[in-house]
């Protein structure tokens, strides 16, 4: 039996990022991670709530989730989404450390008869895999190594910035040149290509509201993946996955390129390498740029 975490799936788990949620739930038990869904969780507000709602209401979104998690009992709240992690972590830290903030947030929570003290730990799934699980455990589970698969590990922004530290103190990686994703890739038997764009920005929510502003950013990421002859790009972030996959056609149209590079989650690579069902568990059928190359390369 593994360690129990209160799991905050986040809104993308029910839509564009469903393949992260499903594949993570599939591999979690093999890694000794027991996920217990957060009761009645709400949206974290991502990078946009603040502009319309204001700073305190934006934090209040996370505070309600944290108050629900507190009532549930587990000490650690785990999320796999970069934005959910950032917002929830930041709010938790402010409630714990910023003078006067706890009082204000609790006045707001009080409107629904709730309260929260800031005593939980908010953790990213990748950080949990690094610190609680360990790479050896990933390697132990590999039955079908992804030999010869060249993967560009694309970390993106908010998974490590600004919180590359853990809530319990200590680090799991660095801001500028994080290694954890390449480590995950290698643990599945694949090859991690040298990828300078690993922490480049995909445009975030601006890519969704005005894609014309951000196609150039996405092109740069694709350019390098192609130059390094990567078979696919792997990322931990739902928005990175969505932007880099969804806008490839638009990039091709705008720049006359012919990119057709699958973009998957690390957890999808793991599920294939662990010999799990390529569609039901690894969700390869949820990628609309075919990621079948991963299953093809996996040693049977």
């Amino acid at each position: 039996m593994g360690k129990k975490y209160t799991y905050y799936p986040g809104c993308s788990s029910e839509s564009s990022g469903s393949h992260l949620d499903v594949s993570l739930r599939a591999v979690a038990p093999k890694l000794g991670i027991e996920l217990e869904d957060l009761n009645d969780w709400n949206c974290c507000g991502a990078s946009v709530a603040h502009v319309e709602a204001g700073a305190l209401p934006a934090s209040a979104l996370s505070a309600r989730n944290l108050a629900n998690a507190r009532a549930q009992g587990n000490q650690d709240v785990l999320t796999a989404c970069a934005a959910c992690y950032l917002k929830t972590h930041h709010t938790n830290e402010k409630i714990r450390d910023k003078p006067g903030f706890k009082e204000k947030i609790n006045e707001a929570l009080g409107a629904a008869g709730q309260s929260y003290d800031g005593d939980l730990h908010v953790r990213h799934a990748c950080e949990v895999i690094v610190n609680d699980v360990g790479l050896d455990k990933i390697k132990e589970q590999v039955t079908n190594p992804l030999e010869g698969l060249k993967v560009a590990g694309y970390v993106g922004c908010q998974t490590v910035r600004p919180f590359a530290g853990t809530e319990g103190g200590g680090d799991y990686d660095t801001y500028e040149d994080p290694e954890f994703l390449d480590d995950f890739i290698r643990s599945t038997g694949a090859e991690a290509v040298e990828f300078d764009s690993k922490t480049a920005c995909c445009g975030g929510a601006i890519a969704l509201m005005s894609p014309d502003r951000t196609l150039g950013l996405i092109k740069k990421i694709l350019d390098e993946a192609k130059e390094k002859e990567a078979d696919c790009i792997a990322t931990p972030c739902p928005l990175c996955q969505q932007n880099v996959e969804m806008y490839q056609a638009a990039v091709n149209k705008e720049y006359g390129t012919d990119f057709q590079i699958p973009v998957v989650f690390y957890s999808q690579l793991m599920a294939v390498a662990f010999g799990m069902d390529v569609n039901k568990d690894a969700c390869l059928d949820r990628n609309f740029i075919s990621a079948d190359v991963i299953a093809q390369k996996a040693r049977k």
Binding site: S15, N42, A49, I105, A112, P162
Partner: protein, 208 residues
């Protein structure tokens, strides 16, 4: 560019200088208390992925805050070309939380009624996004996206929706967009009570 440069030199333009503005920012904007630590090194501006789209990079914008150029700061498009990549936050040698400050300045500009702030794609997008959060407790990517498109008028909304139809179809086919009712939480009433209270507290503290 030259117009912007001229605007930074007192006396060369008709711009207003409000010297109380810097103090207001220090005291009321999230992270603003650290703004006086800025040493104008430019690391932040050099880090912005969409820096070329910005009227002024964050470094220059902060200098303008200090100079009391309230209108120019609150009309700038800088805040809406911030992708929230947080490079500035981890790189600033003086610990200035650049992204937090920009984000809150953008919100303050909209709150103070600056048209430039209220009509950005970002403001429309945020409005639609929050609508979904308030109504369902969650982001319904389908509905809020269409609501965002609608903010440009019905004709434009249909055009945008059609242009993105092939993406929507792919998302449905790959089980990344569902066709049924929106997912909703049980506690929307609680959530809205909390949000309303938080907005009230913020207004009480900031006066905008």
């Amino acid at each position: 560019m030259t117009a912007n440069m001229a605007a930074t030199i007192p006396g060369q333009s008709a711009r207003k200088y409000d010297l109380g503005f810097a103090r207001w920012v220090y005291e009321n904007i999230e992270g603003g208390d650290k703004l006086s630590m800025c040493m104008q090194c430019g690391v932040c501006s050099g880090s912005c992925p969409l820096g070329t789209e910005m009227d002024y990079g964050p470094r220059k914008l902060f200098m303008m805050v200090r100079a009391g150029m309230k209108d120019a700061v609150l009309k700038a498009n800088t805040m809406y070309n911030c992708t929230s990549c947080y490079s500035c936050v981890v790189r600033c040698p003086r610990g200035v939380p650049v992204q937090y400050i920009l984000q809150d300045l953008g919100r303050a500009a909209a709150r103070m009624g600056y048209q430039e702030a209220k009509t950005t794609d970002n403001a429309r997008f945020a409005k639609a996004f929050i609508w979904s959060t308030r109504k369902f407790g969650r982001t319904d990517e389908r509905l809020f996206t269409f609501k965002y498109y609608l903010s440009f008028g019905l004709g434009e909304a249909i055009k945008k929706a059609m242009a993105n139809m092939s993406i929507a179809i792919k998302l449905v086919k790959t089980k990344r967009m569902h066709l049924g009712m929106p997912h909703r939480i049980k506690g929307t009433k609680d959530l809205n009570a909390i949000l309303a209270k938080a907005a009230e507290i913020e207004k009480r503290e900031q006066g905008i």
